[in-house]
Symmetry: C2
Subunit: 280 residues, 2 copies
Amino acid sequence: MQKKSVKFNKVAIVGTGLIGGSLGLALKKKRIAKRIVGFARHNRTLSLAKKIGAIDIGSRDLKTAQDADLIVLATPVSAIISTAKQLSRIVKKDVIVTDVGSTKKEIVFKLEKIFTNYIGSHPLAGSQKSGVEHSCRDIFKDTICLLTPTAKTKKQTLRIITRLWKELGTRVVLISPREHDKIIAFVSHLPHLLAFALMDLIPRNYLRFAASGLKDTTRIAASGAHLWQDIFITNRDEILYSLRRFNRLLKNFEKLLLKKDLNRLRNLMVRAKEKRDSLR
Amino acid sequence: MQKKSVKFNKVAIVGTGLIGGSLGLALKKKRIAKRIVGFARHNRTLSLAKKIGAIDIGSRDLKTAQDADLIVLATPVSAIISTAKQLSRIVKKDVIVTDVGSTKKEIVFKLEKIFTNYIGSHPLAGSQKSGVEHSCRDIFKDTICLLTPTAKTKKQTLRIITRLWKELGTRVVLISPREHDKIIAFVSHLPHLLAFALMDLIPRNYLRFAASGLKDTTRIAASGAHLWQDIFITNRDEILYSLRRFNRLLKNFEKLLLKKDLNRLRNLMVRAKEKRDSLR
C-alpha cells in the first residue's frame, strides 16, 4: 500500500542558492508545495529564482514566512543559526522546520531549542558551483540524505521530513548529529581542506601542466569560501582530529619514501585502491 | 605549407597497457605506422591488443624489435630502464627511441647513454584505469605532451618525435628533465600521494557516506600500485620536497582553525578557488 504523499500549502526556503533553488524546483516538480516563498539577501537572486521557477514569491523580509507550514533553512551554516532566531519570533508555533547545513552538531543543538518541530537534514548533493543559476531539480535523485534526529525530535517531524526527502529521490539515513559531524569530517570536510591547500600550494606557473588528475582532485577547491569558513568553524574539532590523523599517515608515507620501502608503499597503495574501487 | 607527415615502417611498442595500447590505436588511425609490434609479459595482453587493433604482431621476445625504426617504451618506469638495456643489444644503431614514463630525470639520464636517437616524452594523458582493454585512440587528443630534450638530444630526433605527438593531437611543450620532475611532482605525483593517503585514512564503514566530492578527489587513488611505486621512487626527492611544502601549508591551516582566524582562512580559500577556476 502506497503511503499518502506529503503536501504543504506554503513552503519557505530561506537561502535560494544552489541547494535552496534545486529544492524549490524539485518540490514544484513533485507537486509537494502549493506555494513556495524564497528568501535571499539580494533581489537579483530572488528574481532569478522566480524566473527559473524555483519559487513563487521572493522576499527579503522574513515576515513573509509567518504562515508557512514548512521552513527549510538553506543558507550558509552561520546564517542558519542567526536566521532561526529571527524566524522563531515570526512563524507559527507548530511549523515544521529543517535545514540543509553541512555540519549538524551546533545547528541541531541550537535549532531544536528554538523550534518545536525541527529535525536536521544534510542531503549529500551539490557541487563546487554555487548560486541559484546552477540549480537543478534532479540534484537530489539517487543521493543520500542524512537526517539527524535526537531525543527531542518528534516522531511526526521525523516521519514527515523522511517522506519529503524520499519523494525527492534520496535514500534517507538516520544518524546522530555527533556521528554525522565525525564521519562527514573524514569524507567531505577534510577532502575539501586538502583540495584548498593543494591549490594554494601549486605555483601559478605550474598550472598549465595540470592534467585531469589534478583537475578532479581539486574540483571542490572551487567551492565558495563563505560557505566553507562556516563549515570549518562549526565542525572544527572533528576536522582537526581527521587532519591530525591524516598528517600521521603523510609522515608515514614520507618515511616509506625515505627508506625506499617498496613493500609497504605498495601495500598502502593496494589497500587504498581496493577501498577506492569499492566506492560506487 | 603543410609539413610532410611522419611515417614509420615498423614501430615497436614495449608495454601494451593503457598508454601503449592507445598509442597503437592512434598510430594506426593516423596511418603513421605501417606495422606495429607490441611487447608484453603476458600472452593474454598481446592477444587482446591485437584483437582491438592496437598492434599487428604481439611478441614476448624483444628480438622481434630488431628491425624497428621507432621504439616507444611504455612500461612502468623501472621496466623502461631495464628493458632499454636489453634492447640496446638488439636494435638498429640509428633507431629512434622515446618513452612515455611519468618521471624523466632518471630515465633520460640513462636512456640517452644507451640510444643515439633518444628523447623522453610524457604525454599528460591517461586515467586511473590500466590495461590495454581501456585503450582509446583519442586519449592524446587535446592534451599536452612534454618532451624533455637535453644537450645530447639530436635535432632530428626532437623534430621527428615532436611531429609524431603533434599528429596525435597533443600540444608539445619542451622542458628539461629536471624541471619536468619538479613541476610534475606538484601537479601530479603529490596529488596522487594525497589521494592514496586519504583513501587509506577513511574508515571503511564511512565510505557509504561518500558523495561526489570524495569520489572525484580520490579517483586517482584507483591507479595501479605497481606503476606508482616506480614513480614515487624515481622522483622521490622532488615528491618529498612538495610533500614537505604541503605539510607546512597544512600546519598553517591547522593553526588558523585553532585560532578561528576567519579572515586568513577565507583568504586562503579565495586564493585557492581563484587558481582552481583558472584551470581549464
